[in-house]
Amino acid sequence: MSTAAIELKGITKRFGSVVANKNISLSVQNGEILSLLGENGSGKTTLMNMISGIYHPDEGQIFINGQEAVIASPHDAYDYKIGMIHQHFKLVDVFSAAENIVLGMNDGKKFNMNDVYARVSQICEKYGFEIDAHKKIYQMSVSEKQTVEIIKVLYRGADILILDEPTAVLTPQETQTLFKVLRRMRDDGKAIIIITHKLHEVLSISDRVSVLRRGEYVGTLRTADTNEIELTEMMVGKKISLNIERSEPHDIKDRLVVSNIQCNSREGVRLLDNVSFVARSGEILGIAGIAGSGQRELLEAIAGLQHIDSGSIIYNNPKTGVQDNLRDKTPIQIRDLGVRLSFVPEDRLGMGLVGNMDIVDNMMLRSYRHGKGIFLKRAEPKALADKIISDLQVVTPGTSTPVRRLSGGNVQKVLVGREIAAAPTVLMAAYPVRGLDINSSYTIYNLLNEQKEHGVAVIFVGEDLDVLIELCDRIMVIGGGRVTGIVDARNTTKEEIGLLMTKTDGGQTNE
């Protein structure tokens, strides 16, 4: 085998006590496309960020063309002819494509935009890009922006290209065009690493696949010798038993009936596509999916924060028996209907709590419409704050500490405690244990279970499949804004869910 274009040996990266990458070794040849496959949080992007100079490995070595390389900054990476195309484009909106491409470069020659345009069109011709170099970024579609990013790294002479989930934002047609270009670059002798979790894309584009799981290297296979099922198994791994207590649901009633909702972003991208499901009282409905598949939009649509283009969300009021459509109602209107909806958003200190305010004030964010007169009554929220602190064992100097000074787990306890105190009939929690230690996580699981036993319809968006399988009663899997399946959590496997997660072409599976 010839010398690898890039080779990683024993790379380890830690963030505090968290090990993001553990002893990872892999290599890519010139004229080869390697897929890097793994779930969310498996450390793919971290690993690639070390190659592109954004992070620095704690242990291990990187070899480029057989020579050991120290990549301390993105600038160094360019010098080693490494170019990374990030998931979030780094482009200046008001600049033209060519201006973005040449930004920050200094080749010592006289600065002349006409030369830049000439070279850009040369590169476009060579690899078959179609782009108007004079067009401003803000007038471009997502796929055009991505093309600019790719040309940008090629313009800098990159021989090793890293693409972080390039197809996540593309339509199937655009993906085909991108793959055509990638193949042409491969045939031109470039080494290409593509991060993805879409299995069919892995199989169609790459020569070899390396799989990561929870920051660890699982193995590398030749694409021709493998299949979706084998890759899924490598990706999700063996089942780990967590011993989360799960009670049998009783007194199940349809609480929230979501039918055929569609949402589009302001740019016209489909966020939710024909999503239908039922959330039942006394049951935990898990939602699984690759990050950014529409989980956030779905919860926000129910909470009245996301505009819905079509479909309905029917709430069955357990007290009055009335059915209300929550579609296109504001959170206040929803509350005025007597719908007791609690929402623990993903972004705790952004959407859930105000970081600079203390626990009592944050309690009042939920109850500010109570009471009369212009003066605040702090006694009631103070009592609630004290109750949450003692019930959930929140570690805090007192109720007057700004919540941003609390640790992640304690912040989450305050938020969940407040939402549960509102005695909800529907409780939605997005990634409630993200960043929490084991004990805090179990506290949250128990709280959710308790709510379920009280007859609350719990919707739990999670990323850890083991947790979803042990905690939930049913699991709905979404991919690309569509429901790809709803499974019974007691009789499912990680592989089944993993396959549904990576399936983006739709198709309903019955329970």
Partner: protein
């Protein structure tokens, strides 16, 4: 009639020059994403430090030399205003203090220091009365030698001291640098999207510091022009007035384009003094007419915000701190 128009244009240009310095300085600063509201204070500092430098030189030298009379106040002014901008940069870029608060504090500070030194400089040197640097002022006021021979045209357009021409030259250079050079492209990227600039290997901190300090130094020259040329080497407390704020208004009016700001400065200069050219105005209506520049600025703001043309918007990252760790 013709002579009245000519004298109005001449006066408008004279009034426009300090505004042009302030506006050019602020545009360069804002292009790096720093909203420096300390510019009015920096212009006071630019003026008073020129006065102090010139005063000390004239005081200790029996026969001042023309070249030093010009260079010493010029250097004092440039350094002092750049230093003010450096304080702003250190607070907002390195310590990430709030840009608006820092800028307003610097303005209050600059105006105060200017008035304090201007009011007490004479007494420091055991004299009384107000400052008058006639020699220095005269050198600064010397018009182009051939101006007189060109009749009305020369009187209208060429009868200024060198700082007036320098203002236009600096504005043109800044426009060229921003539009046509690599440095300009990088600087605009820093103001639009520092994270992008950073990823492209541009030293964001350095660009912000250099642009802000250069901008401050340029703005300070506006104060120097005012005290040395316009009022001929003297100081009157609060004499510079609200011209610094007007300069910031011009930045918006000129859509962050230094070349356009030349024209805008002269228009604002004209609007600033037009009340004295309209006969028979009561003092109340004069004050109303003085509002014109600000009214025009508000209208421009409304129009550009409504039209939403991306090229005419302020730099996208204006006023925001940049944390590299947050990417």
């Amino acid at each position: 009639m013709l002579t009245t128009i000519a004298s109005f244009i001449n006066a408008a240009i004279i009034q426009g020059i300090p505004l042009l310095y302030g506006a050019t300085g602020e545009i360069i600063t804002e292009k790096s994403g720093n909203l420096n509201l300390g510019i009015p204070g920096i212009m006071y500092i630019g003026g008073i430090s020129g006065i102090v430098g010139g005063y000390i030189y004239e005081y200790y030298t029996p026969e001042p030399v023309a070249a030093l009379c010009i260079i010493i106040p010029l250097l004092c002014s440039l350094l002092a205003s750049a230093f003010m901008a450096f304080i702003y940069s250190f607070l907002t870029i390195t310590l990430r203090a709030n840009q608006n608060v820092t800028g307003l504090a610097l303005t209050t500070f600059g105006v105060g220091v200017g008035n304090f030194l201007g009011g007490s400089l004479q007494s420091f040197f055991g004299k009384s009365g107000s400052i008058s640097l006639l020699t220095t002022g005269n050198y600064y006021k010397t018009p182009l030698p051939f101006a007189e021979k060109l009749g009305l045209f020369g009187q209208t357009f060429l009868s200024f001291g060198f700082l007036a021409y320098l203002a236009v030259i600096i504005a043109v250079i800044c426009a060229f640098v921003l539009k046509k050079t690599r440095i300009g492209l990088n600087l605009r990227a820093v103001g639009e999207s520092p994270a992008t600039a950073d990823a492209a290997g541009i030293n964001v901190t350095r660009y912000k510091y250099v642009a802000t300090c250069t901008g401050g130094a340029i703005a300070g020259l506006g104060g120097l022009y005012f005290v040395m040329d316009y009022i001929a080497g003297a100081w009157t407390n609060d004499g510079f007035g609200d011209r610094g704020w007007l300069a910031i208004a011009i930045v918006i009016f000129a859509l962050w384009k230094p070349d356009l700001s030349i024209l805008c400065s002269f228009i604002f200069g004209g609007l600033y003094i037009i009340c004295t050219y309209i006969p028979g105005l009561s003092s109340a209506s004069k004050e109303l007419i003085k509002m014109l520049p600000y009214v025009v600025t508000i209208i421009v703001l409304v129009v550009i915000s409504a039209r939403k043309r991306r090229e005419n918007q302020p730099p996208a990252h204006l006023g925001l701190p940049y944390f590299r760790e947050e990417r």
